[in-house]
Symmetry: C2
Subunit: 195 residues, 2 copies
DNA sequence: AAACTGAACATTTTGTTGATTGTTCATCAT
DNA sequence: ATGATGAACAATCAACAAAATGTTCAGTTT
């Protein structure tokens, strides 16, 4: 049964190459199949749909983002500084993605449109990092105590939505977004402080 | 020259009826014209384009919203309470608009897409109210001083974007939004407090 | 001269057709 | 029996033509 897992990987690789080169909509199942010298029908023995391949592709790249977030969270310094840095890094990352590769952006759009549950799961994972920083901040006596940290993290996500999906507001000027994020994070930061 | 202003009003009325009944895209210039027993060409002596009629229509309804905001801002109570109420009222208002009339929603979408300057002006007006409440809060010794209140108001708007354009996140569940807004406003409120 | 018209023009939308593509399944090969 | 195929099917897309619509303007009316 390891055979099967290997084929799944090969499909993922071939599809990934196509996705990144030509975008989601411009890569066809038959192209992926012929790259691997197999039939289109056979693909469906490994993935239930094209969208599932895309989701698997995104999952495969999650670790990069996770690592990025982990780096900031685990870095030294006060929880307050890390919290700001965390959001700054995410903004720069997503903006860079959009800017340098319309193809990956299209992929991301397709997934979050057709698979909202996936996007929600990603937010939930991000919240784990947020909660860790909040805990640290409370431990160091910087932030106020709070009985539900995941909920608090959720509210921080609400307040920073604008910077998470810059596309939605068709504001593609990173310098404007940077300034706005800084101001918004200042506000949130003060709201978290112990008094 | 009062003749002209009167015709402009009649056009606005006729267009308004159509917009609200059939939506922006489904009302044609020739329909508006024939409602008023005039030619299409004549409309252009009063408004440079269809979109300008729509904008004028929106402007005519601005006073309702302004009044709504004014009511909250001028109501008694602490600036903090009014600030929360202010956002709650806006959320309920926009959500109601979307919910009860797809037609008006389409109009709003068309304007903010084709006339981003108009949407920005609206935000600027809203900020005037925000600044007033911030000033009040500072005066009563509740909020911390701040050297640029308009900028601060801008940041509050950034943090509450999600509740201003609920459509963008295709979250149409008002109860979820209510809860999220409450939490977000709590956070912002604490961030404004004097320490 | 000023107000207005409606045909003309250019752009957008709509409808239609054929090709493409995601998906399934009867069939074949191992 | 299991793995794989590729023709068949349905849904979607692309391209083109036709219709509708926003806008302009020469010409008519007042």
């Amino acid at each position: 049964m390891d055979e099967k897992a290997e084929t799944r990987d090969r499909i993922l690789e071939a599809a990934g190459r196509r996705f990144e080169h030509y975008g989601y909509s411009k890569t066809t199942m038959s192209e992926i199949a012929s790259d691997l010298k197999m039939s289109t029908g056979n693909l469906y023995r490994f993935y239930p749909s094209k969208l599932d391949i895309a989701e698997a592709h995104a999952r495969a790249h999650e670790c990069d983002e996770d690592e990025m977030m982990e780096t900031v969270v685990a870095s030294g310094g006060s929880a307050g500084v890390r919290l700001q840095e965390f959001h700054r890094v995410i903004l720069e990352h997503t903006f860079k993605l959009i800017d340098e590769s319309k193809k990956i952006f299209e992929l991301a759009q397709a997934i979050s449109r057709e698979r909202p549950a996936y996007a929600n799961r990603r937010l939930a994972i991000e919240r784990v990092y947020l909660v860790r920083m909040l805990e640290d901040g409370i431990a160091e006596g910087l932030f106020d105590r709070h009985d539900n940290l995941d909920e608090l993290a959720e509210m921080i996500q609400c307040a920073t939505m604008k910077f998470r999906y810059p596309q939605l507001y068709n504001c593609f000027r990173i310098d404007v977004l940077r300034r706005e994020l800084e101001g918004t994070m200042d506000l949130i930061y003060k709201g978290l402080l112990k008094r």
